[in-house]
Symmetry: C2
Subunit: 225 residues, 2 copies
């Protein structure tokens, strides 16, 4: 990483697939998904837009590779825990936080399911589900539910945060606005939602996410089928 020797002629920094991905991640983090354009990327790399195509197949390839890199980092960061349940919680939170910090990772995962990043997550979850003693014929459905929940909620949470940022960025004020609207809904048609204003204002997305994971974990243990 500190080495600067290029392959053949000594150049300041030659255009490599790695450097393109690196700058793509920086661009995605700073300007979001819509900020990643070949023109903007070419400018950052001090080259022409067409040059990128020598190393990268297309925009999808660019996004998928950047996403795989982030998921690898996230999974490497989750240490082994005391119980399988705790390991599952750690993986879940690691992904939640990564996708929260890099919302574009979420959309990339949605766009390329069952690819390498997802398989790594599946494996990590599967090993813990086995350790919990779930019978073999139920393992696929159980892991599938966990994976879907984790990715689904993380992606939606990140999308919410992005929308919040686009709408001004004051989370408390935005929540308060929605909560206020809920409280003024028609009592006959929306008896439930009307009463949820206070809980919406006070809620913590990360805690609710974890509560959902726990709900599934205790469903696995109580095993209805």
């Amino acid at each position: 990483m500190a080495k600067n020797t290029a392959s053949s002629p000594r150049r300041e920094q030659s255009l490599t697939r790695e450097r393109i991905i690196e700058e793509s991640i920086a661009l995605l983090d700073s300007s979001g998904e819509s900020g990643l354009t070949f023109r903007a990327l070419a400018e950052r790399l001090a080259t022409g837009a067409g040059a990128i195509y020598w190393h990268i197949a297309n925009k999808n390839d660019l996004l998928a590779t950047a996403c795989a890199e982030m998921v690898t980092r996230a999974l490497q960061a989750t240490a082994q825990q005391a119980s399988p349940q705790d390991s599952i919680r750690a993986v879940a939170l690691g992904l939640f936080d990564t996708i929260d910090a890099h919302p574009w990772v979420g959309s990339a995962l949605t766009r390329a399911p069952l690819q390498s990043p997802t398989v790594h997550i599946l494996e990590k979850l599967g090993q813990q589900v086995r350790a919990m003693g779930v019978p073999p014929q139920r393992q696929f459905a159980v892991v599938s539910a966990l994976l879907s929940y984790i990715l689904g909620v993380s992606v939606q949470n990140a999308a919410n945060a992005q929308i919040g940022r686009a709408l001004g960025g004051d989370r408390a004020a935005l929540l308060d606005e929605v909560a206020g609207a809920w409280e003024q809904l028609d009592a006959g048609q929306f008896p439930f939602t009307r009463d949820m204003g206070a809980q919406l204002r006070a809620h913590d997305d990360r805690a609710d996410f974890l509560a959902g994971v726990d709900l599934i974990l205790s469903g696995i243990v109580s095993a209805p089928l």
Copy 2:
């Protein structure tokens, strides 16, 4: 719906917000999300692209309104069931099937959370969660988990189906290919995924989705916290 009388001058079919949304839905269903362009829509409506902007704020408005229409239809179609659990399953399946048949509804829901369509779903789920006897202070987190799971999995399932279609359309062949790749993974690094090939080949997305809903429902009943 059969009436053809326009507002003031008798015209074949005047340009209305309703007609624009109707044609947008048709276009989205036939050509997918990328098929909805102002130019294609204008052609279908036999007008200019700019004319649409008189009735619709922008593309987001177009997609959000079309999405709201579809969710309303989906919720109206779910009849009252014997138990709260069954009602929740019916709502879940209704949304799963709608989003499966109209994948663009999924992306629109993700893009506009806590808007009118989501609130209607929240209300329907919330009433059943109350009927199940969940204590008030847990209701928000429980409904939130259910809603997240249902939307998250449905959206991902629809995305998968779209990708499958783009890749040739033969679901069995595609699954078989992925399953085959799983079975050849390194035994040391992927002991779990390696064994899941058969279950992946045999699995039913809709059944797995419902199994996940049941997992959450039994987690709610066994109530760890």
